[in-house]
């Protein structure tokens, strides 16, 4: 049946399907989506601006709060950027501990996503089940770092807490627990009939589109793009893992077509991969220092003598997170730029959301595991408090104006 009548449907900024404020305006024809408009900017907190007034150590704890779930990945990328510009050598044991914490975070983030996705399609039992088994890894992280979510584990040049023999015992227990549960969980996630009916052939992102829109993380890998910062630009202990390679739905014998099911399969396989990586790191954990030994004040003073720019790239659970810093002989970086995975993946919503049913909107939106707070780096507010639209040229001119001082120093060289 063909009809020319379309109507608008607003989903968001506040809607039960989304955990964070984001606004979608759809053009609907019957039950089919024919047009999509996405509006960011409801959770802008000016983190980059605040960071310009804090010292190098304080920024680590500020950046942990960019995102509630990637609370390891963001400071990790920042620390890598600072270590890059200042040429700080990280002791081997610290690199392994960083890898372990990072993979534990990936484990809990993917379990969280699975629960959210199950809730979006009304499968609340799976939601309760995955969030229940996720408690184990959160308890483990609490024992290792002192906190369930904002670990405060990182510092420039290493980590703040060591993994003791007792902790190692806990990690082994947790790994055994998840290895036992893995088969059962993956069977539910990958073989359940209603789950397959809702995810297969839905929200397709072809490999060409993924490449063109610069998709990152599980979203790219679900489309069959073999792209993983851990493999392509390894940091920490990743380059010492010989068998590490990007996962893909091909690992379970399925040619990826880039639908929601493939992205789910990638995340399920990454749970297994994370378990194996932690196992590897625990088996090969070197002895030695866990940081450079210089305290916070000493580190800040050392960094005050540094000038230059640095980039840190790290594979967060949602994809590549990239931090760019400029140091200029000051107590704080003169500029810091956060590029979160959702910033790249957000664009892939446009092809995914075209020609799907209304019922598919929540699961397709959730399928890239969006972190809106991560991606909200700008809000445009007029003097009277209302929001407006800014053109690309205007935005570019304003950005050049704002960073004139910084530009002068760094572009002239």
């Amino acid at each position: 049946m063909k009809s020319d009548i379309t109507y608008p449907l607003n989903i968001g900024p506040i809607h039960p399907a989304f955990k964070e404020p984001i606004k979608f305006t759809f053009r609907i024809e019957g039950e089919k989506v024919v047009g999509t408009d996405i509006d960011f900017g409801y959770t802008h907190r000016a983190i980059e601006r605040i960071a310009q007034e804090r010292n190098y150590i304080q920024i680590i704890y500020l950046l942990e709060r960019v995102c509630g779930i990637c609370s390891f990945s963001h400071p990790m990328a920042y620390c890598l950027a600072i270590e890059d510009v200042a040429g700080i050598e990280v002791p081997p044991r610290a690199r392994y501990i960083r890898t372990i914490i990072g993979e534990l975070e990936r484990l809990h983030s993917h379990l969280l996503w699975t629960g959210v996705a199950a809730h979006e399609i009304g499968f609340d039992t799976l939601f309760m089940y995955t969030w229940n088994i996720r408690e184990k890894v959160l308890d483990c992280l609490e024992e290792l770092t002192g906190n369930r979510i904002n670990y405060a584990m990182l510092t420039i040049g290493g980590v703040r807490r060591d993994i003791t023999a007792d902790n190692a015992q806990t990690i082994h227990q947790v790994l055994e627990y998840y290895e036992e549960l893995y088969n059962r969980t993956s069977e539910i996630l990958l073989d359940d009939l209603t789950l397959r009916a809702r995810t297969e052939g839905v929200g397709i992102l072809t490999v060409e589109q993924a490449e063109r829109l610069c998709a990152v993380g599980p979203t790219a890998r679900g489309s069959g793009l073999m792209k993983d910062v851990r493999v392509d630009y390894p940091v920490n202990a990743y380059y010492e893992i010989p068998w590490l390679r990007p996962v893909s739905p091909r690992d379970i014998g399925k040619e990826p077509i880039g639908d929601v099911y493939d992205r789910m399969a990638v995340r399920v396989l990454e749970i297994q991969q994370a378990i194996k990586i932690i196992q590897f790191c625990m088996d090969n954990l070197p002895e030695g220092d866990i940081n450079t030994g210089s305290g916070a004040v000493k580190m800040i003073n050392a960094l005050k003598k540094v000038e230059g720019e640095g980039v840190g790239r790290y594979e967060a659970p949602r994809g590549e997170v990239c931090h760019y810093v400029i140091l200029d002989n000051q107590e704080h970086p003169v500029q810091i730029k956060v590029k979160a995975p959702t910033y790249s993946n957000g664009f892939t919503w446009a092809p995914m959301l075209t020609n799907i049913e209304i019922a598919d909107i929540p699961i397709v939106v959730a399928s890239i595991d969006p972190c809106v707070a991560c991606a909200d780096r700008m809000a445009y507010v007029l003097k009277d408090g209302s929001s407006g639209t800014i053109s690309w040229e205007e935005l570019r001119a304003k950005s050049i104006q704002k960073y004139k001082g910084v530009r002068k120093r760094w572009m002239m060289r």
Partner: protein
């Protein structure tokens, strides 16, 4: 006759609490299956009490008389539905002469009215989410019609062989579906039961057929604009409907009383308490039917898409019920009077 009016009033009053408790049991059981603690069993009652004290907001874009009238129509028709289904049966099990026989055709139509009322209310609210929910509710309504009609007709067809009135609910207590059933008849009866069990979550708007209220898609859909007393009426409608539909399935398929099955009667100090035991036995059957048809199914499945729902009912469930009907017709023993 006077006794029957007393029973009717008792059914309405008890129906409020029984229906809400049924929903409470459903929530507690679902929580148990999902390894949660869950709310207290009386939580739906507390919800209604609280909603009755809350402000009722009527959206400015709504058609006021239809928006406020629809929940009242829904509530009234669901009460009539409950009475129509359970009055004759309750009179039967406690040993009274019932004033109504319970007409199956009327029941089919009465099942529709609360849904139609909530659809009208949703369209009248002026909310796009509610309109989408109402459209979906209509699709579900239309696709579940055929299975319900087939089930009821095959049971009436079976009764028509006897000396009883084929479309009266009362005939089913005396001449049950399983009466004189051969292998075909039993198989057919099981298929019809399966079809009704699948229709139950669709009529109750529960996962996997809760598209009309899908929380994560359209934010409670048909109910999105309702608040306060009007929402309480809709929740009460839901409770009455849960009770009546489960009771209908019990009556269609398992009308046996405790005394029929075990041949026991109970009395304390000369007074017979058999009616009380029968009521408890009946309630137990209703809870079991609701738990199988709604709680278990909603715990083990994800929500389907509306296009998938139409396919499930128009092809799978209709096929199940028609095969059941054919099997019952083929049963040689059932043809004999």
């Amino acid at each position: 006759m006077d006794d029957a009016i007393g029973v009717a009033i008792a059914i309405i009053v008890a129906g409020v609490f029984a229906g809400l408790l049924l929903k409470g049991i459903d929530r507690k059981l679902a929580a148990f299956m999902q390894s949660r603690i869950g709310p207290p069993i009386a939580q739906p009652i507390y919800d209604i009490l609280k909603l009755m004290q809350k402000q009722t907001i009527i959206p400015a874009t709504s058609v006021r008389w239809l928006f406020t009238g629809a929940p009242l129509v829904a509530l009234t028709s669901s009460i009539v539905l409950l009475l129509y289904i359970s009055l004759s049966y309750v009179c039967y099990i406690i040993g009274l002469q019932s004033p109504v026989q319970g007409d199956l055709i009327v029941i089919i139509y009465l099942i529709l009215i609360p849904s139609i009322a909530s659809i009208s209310g949703a369209f009248a609210s002026g909310s796009p989410y509610a309109s989408i929910g109402a459209q979906r509710e209509m699709v579900i309504l239309m696709s579940t019609e055929l299975p319900i009609a087939v089930v009821v007709l095959s049971i009436a067809w079976h009764v028509a062989d006897s000396m009883y009135n084929p479309f009266a609910l009362q005939s089913l207590f005396e001449y049950t579906l399983w009466h004189q059933a051969g292998a075909f008849g039993i198989l057919g009866g099981i298929l019809l039961f399966l079809a009704m069990i699948l229709v139950l979550p669709a009529e109750m708007s529960k996962v996997p057929f809760d598209q009309a209220e899908a929380e994560t898609e359209i934010a409670e859909g048909v109910m999105v604009e309702y608040s306060g007393k009007l929402l309480a009426f809709l929740l009460l409608t839901d409770a009455f409907k849960a009770l009546s539909l489960s009771a209908l399935i019990v009556i269609l398929f398992f009308p046996y009383t405790f005394t029929d099955l075990f041949g026991l009667t109970f009395s304390i100090g000369g007074y017979s308490i058999t009616p009380l035991v029968e009521i408890i036995f009946f309630s137990g059957k209703v809870v079991i039917i609701y738990s199988i048809g709604v709680t278990v199914i909603r715990v083990i499945m994800a929500r389907l898409k509306i296009s998938q729902v139409a396919k499930v009912f128009l092809f799978a469930v209709s096929a199940i019920s028609i095969i059941g009907m054919v099997l019952i017709m083929l049963d040689p023993k059932m043809k004999m009077i």
